[in-house]
């Protein structure tokens, strides 16, 4: 459901870093020079502002049924109204909040699990690595949507919490695999050897020596997980497995589809939330790809003059 670009990770050859500020400053500088990253950032910022200012931007109460059904777009109703007489534009604006928040929260949680599983597998090695790796692969291969559908169907009326849980359970494995291979390539580097000789504890080494050197990959994995969350949440809500009273783009699509919006001649009801989902997804995808370019120099666009 999401783009899964499989690239062999470039071995890290840059000098090791151990202060977080240095890494983040470097990343920020690289981001600002990358067009794809800038486009993604701009889109994300736009949605964040809309989400924050929803009460100011939306002209009407999104739940209110006070208008005539299926009005054409006009100045009073920028995108027309639904079959229930709700203002589509107001719904769209308010829905930004849940859709964005859900993507970020589910993305963060999935990334944390990826980190825990991937890095400890690489660092512990041996049997623990074998078991964790197998566990990751199993979750990677099991088709996620049917699994999500079953879990969500069993735990019906669980609301947003269930949605997030389902997405996190099915979304962590890809990142874990990538993190493991990068952590493996770091394992025998001299600066880690030095830390071990100094007698640092494993936890210290992982948190302060290994993780800072994987910052760009971790950010890329978060972006991938967030993209996955956007699409997964939209898909689940679209087929009616979210809370139908929620205000989110997926739920809007569900109601539009349930009322045959395409056939009833109000395609905007379907297209508006759909395009928002696609744009939010594209924002995460663009940033994700940009990070791939930043962490793997071989992929950077070449200068044409050669």
């Amino acid at each position: 459901m999401a783009v899964r670009v499989v690239t062999d990770l470039a071995p890290i050859e840059s000098p090791p870093v151990s202060s977080r500020a240095g890494v983040l400053a470097g990343l920020a500088a690289a981001l600002l020079q990358n067009k794809k990253a800038l486009a993604g950032l701009a889109m994300l910022a736009f949605f964040a502002i809309v989400a924050l200012l929803a009460p100011v931007i939306a002209p009407y109460d999104p739940h209110s049924l006070q208008f005539d059904p299926i009005l054409r777009p006009s100045l009073a109703h920028l995108l027309g109204t639904t079959s229930f007489g709700q203002d589509i534009f107001s719904q769209l604006v308010w829905s930004t909040r849940q859709s964005l928040l859900l993507a970020i929260i589910a993305g963060l949680m999935a990334t944390l699990i990826s980190l825990a599983v991937g890095v400890s597998a690489a660092y512990l090695g041996g049997l623990a690595d074998h078991v964790l790796n197998l566990f990751t692969d199993v979750f990677l291969v099991i088709p996620t949507l049917p699994l999500m559908i079953i879990v969500a169907a069993y735990a019906k009326s669980g609301g947003v919490a269930v949605l997030i849980a389902v997405i996190v359970i099915t979304g962590w494995s890809y990142g874990a695999r990538q993190l493991r291979s990068q952590a493996l390539s770091l394992r025998n580097r001299e600066f880690l050897e030095a830390a071990r000789v100094r007698g640092e504890r494993s936890l210290y080494i992982i948190v302060f020596e290994v993780l800072p050197n994987m910052t760009s990959l971790i950010v890329a994995i978060f972006l991938g997980a967030a993209l996955y969350s956007v699409l997964a949440a939209a898909g689940l809500q679209f087929i009616g497995l979210g809370d139908p009273n929620d205000l989110s783009w997926g739920t809007m699509l569900y109601w539009a589809q349930a009322n045959g919006a395409l056939l009833a001649g109000s395609p905007i009801w379907v297209l508006a939330p759909g395009i928002c989902i696609a744009l939010l997804g594209a924002a995460f995808a663009l940033l994700n790809y940009a990070f791939d370019e930043i962490s793997n120099p071989a992929l950077r666009p070449v200068k044409k003059a050669k």
Binding site: V5, K36, P143, L145, G240, G281, A282, V302
Partner: protein, 327 residues
């Protein structure tokens, strides 16, 4: 050989994991959902069917857990999936049999087309690094692949079927005709299948292109490619036989890995187009809370993906001697 043995081991462990998830889920969910389903069943089916369902849903509390587990594994592996509530009194097995060929045909065709086309385009795009193909394709497909499958399906439906009337609105063949082996029927199937397949191809092709492009770029920097150039081999030969041939392996692994994602997307596409495959059946099962049908579908979809992954593994072993020799 040990490579294939390990892949087989993985196949069975994942199969077991899917079965176990099916077994555990209804037992850990609050407010036993299976019981509600059984209430609707009572008086309508034989006691033996009830028994099977009870085992699957974990309602039969007289037995110890491990016994239920063994019984459940036995039932599933012998193809005893129980009876469907939605399509009562048809058995779950029969319903799946009706839907499976449609899904396999649609997803299979679309995936193979997307994979072949995507690999070729990715190869070309890396070969002409910085050319127009390379400049346009990655950003376009990054954006397209962020499209939800069902959204693209809806747009395609709106434009090509509703507005332009070029294609039928859904389903796999004309509802008025019956299934038969004739040219007109085959034509209908292709006609009806075109839009769903197109949707799957457009949304999934991007990741093949990008993966292939990225690996190809790495491969093109290898010494043996430089050597081939120095020998003065024709560019076409270098592209396909030297660089492409080696770059395709990670793409094949990626192919196996992302099949689960593709199938997930295809389920949504089927729902949009009312295509009578597994995904559409799954939606009906969800709406009528038919848990035994849902569980069976999840299990069978997983089996299908695993078989495909295994096939890709065998193909990799055949293509790449290194995987065979590695201990």
């Amino acid at each position: 050989m040990s490579y294939l043995v390990r892949r087989l081991e993985f196949f069975f462990i994942t199969l077991w994991a899917a079965l176990t998830i099916n077994f555990i889920l209804p037992r850990i969910m609050p407010g036993n959902p299976g019981e509600a389903m059984l209430v609707r069943f009572h008086g309508r089916v034989s006691p033996q069917t009830i028994k099977t369902l009870e085992v699957a849903m974990g309602i039969d509390n007289h037995q110890p857990l491990w016994q239920q587990y063994v019984q459940y594994l036995g039932n599933t592996l012998t193809g005893n999936f129980g009876t469907s509530v939605t399509f009562f009194p048809t058995s779950v097995g029969d319903i799946v049999k009706q839907g499976l060929p449609w899904t396999l045909g649609l997803v299979g065709m679309a995936t193979v087309i997307a994979f072949a086309l995507g690999t070729l385009v990715g190869m070309l795009s890396a070969w002409r690094r910085g050319g127009w193909l390379d400049a346009i394709l990655p950003p376009v497909f990054i954006v397209v692949s962020a499209f939800p499958y069902f959204l693209l399906g809806l747009i395609v439906l709106l434009v090509l079927s509703l507005t332009l009337n070029w294609f039928p609105l859904g389903f796999a063949y004309d509802v008025t005709s019956s299934i038969e082996l004739s040219w007109s029927f085959v034509g209908q199937v292709l006609w009806h299948g075109f839009l769903p397949a197109l949707t799957i191809v457009i949304t999934s092709i991007g990741s093949w292109i990008l993966t292939m492009r990225n690996t190809m770029i790495t491969t093109l920097a290898e010494d043996y490619v430089k050597m081939a150039r120095a020998k003065g081999l024709s560019p076409v030969r270098i592209m396909f036989m030297y660089a492409g041939r080696n770059a395709i392996l990670p793409n094949l692994t990626g192919f196996a890995m992302s099949l689960g994602f593709v199938i997930s997307g295809a389920i949504l596409v089927e729902i949009v187009f009312n295509y009578p495959g597994i995904g559409f059946t799954l939606l009906q099962a969800v709406h009528s809370e038919d848990f035994s049908l849902m569980q069976t579908l999840f299990f069978l979809i997983t089996v299908a993906v695993l078989v495909a992954v295994l096939a890709a593994d065998f193909l990799t072993a055949w293509l790449d001697p290194r995987t065979r020799d590695a201990s």
